[in-house]
């Protein structure tokens, strides 16, 4: 690797930028039918479920318990943000306790 840092940075930034705008730009040419709208509405739920499933799988008991508590806390507190912050506290406490 002989390229200077600004060249490396420009190449990396271009790739990241391409990902940011390409899906958005292509979607401009897709008519949003009710079927497409249903697909777009489902996308974040599936992505969030994927993130959660991978975190439970790659983590251990502490991570599983913490994310489980986030589900419960969101339903009880009716605030997803508060539940998420408490979830971080739960996992930190469980790890500190050696779970």
């Amino acid at each position: 690797m002989t390229e200077s840092f600004p060249v490396l940075l420009a190449v990396m930034a271009a790739a990241a930028f391409l990902c940011r705008v390409a899906g958005f730009t292509l979607m401009r040419f897709v008519p949003v039918s009710p079927r497409v709208e249903a697909a777009l509405r489902a996308t974040p739920l599936a992505v969030m479920a994927g993130i959660t499933a991978l975190a439970v799988q790659s983590g251990g008991l502490a991570e599983g318990l913490a994310l489980g508590s986030v589900v419960g806390l969101t339903l009880v507190l009716r605030s997803d943000v508060a539940a998420a912050l408490l979830g971080v506290f739960v996992v930190a406490a469980l790890r500190w306790a050696g779970v």
Binding site: M12, A42, P44, V47, L67, V70
Partner: protein
């Protein structure tokens, strides 16, 4: 020009106000706390790879995606990276942004091209999730997305600088549970977004797809596969 489709776009541009920006910025603050910790993590790695504070912060500003930056720094550390390999690595790791952008498009495009593409520069995993959730509950102000990006940008760059500059004295972010922050937000927002029984379908499809794809091909394609599978099944069962 594309054909505009109701209900997202009419003849006039959608609302894009300072009020919406401020609302987004307020909602972005808790996310920024986790992004700050993630930035510290990236700064630590970058410093160990021989990046100074300036280079580390420049990388965080130019790429603005933690997972892609970590992969790029790992690749650079091998000493055998070509420019194409670097480009391709970031393309693969950030492929999920294709999906994020596509899902935002019908809502965001009606703000006009300059505001829409400008907002996309501040797009990340956490504020995409947050914004999609708010769109579902009726957020009309397109400045909301850029607003969520503002505190996140500050947290990301400040965290990177701190991590790269103070590498020897910091506690590891894992000890404080910050590595699980994005997953916690994803879990919480997912729970809040499930309103009717039909919403459970993309949840189950996404979780199963992510686990299977991660098992077969590793974690990088798992998230985009989950999103595509959830979208595909939702389109199929729609009537």
């Amino acid at each position: 020009m594309r054909h505009e489709c109701a209900p997202y776009a009419g003849m006039t541009r959608a609302l894009f106000s300072f009020d919406g920006f401020r609302r987004g910025a307020r909602d972005g603050v808790p996310l920024a706390v986790s992004i700050f910790a993630y930035g510290v993590g990236f700064g630590l790695v970058a410093a160990q790879a021989g990046f100074g504070v300036g280079k580390a912060v420049a990388t965080s500003a130019a790429i603005y995606s933690g997972s892609a930056q970590l992969a790029a720094v790992n690749l650079l550390q091998t000493g055998e990276a070509t420019l194409w390999a670097l480009f391709a690595t970031i393309l693969v790791i950030n492929a999920r942004y294709l999906l994020f952008g596509a899902a935002l498009q019908p809502w965001l495009w009606s703000a006009g091209p300059l505001r829409a593409y400008g907002s996309l520069l501040l797009l990340g995993d956490a504020n995409w999730l947050m914004t999609m959730r708010r769109i579902r509950t009726g957020e009309e102000d397109r400045a909301y997305l850029a607003g969520t990006g503002a505190p996140i940008t500050v947290g990301w760059l400040a965290g990177t600088a701190l991590g790269a500059g103070a590498v020897s004295v910091l506690p590891r972010p894992e000890a404080l549970g910050f590595d699980l922050m994005l997953a916690c937000f994803a879990t919480g927002m997912m729970t809040a977004m499930v309103k009717v029984r039909a919403d459970l379908l993309p949840v189950v499809v996404g979780a199963v797809t992510a686990l299977v794809v991660a098992h077969l091909f590793g974690p990088a394609p798992a998230i985009i596969a989950a999103g595509l599978a959830g979208a595909g099944v939702a389109a199929m069962v729609h009537r």
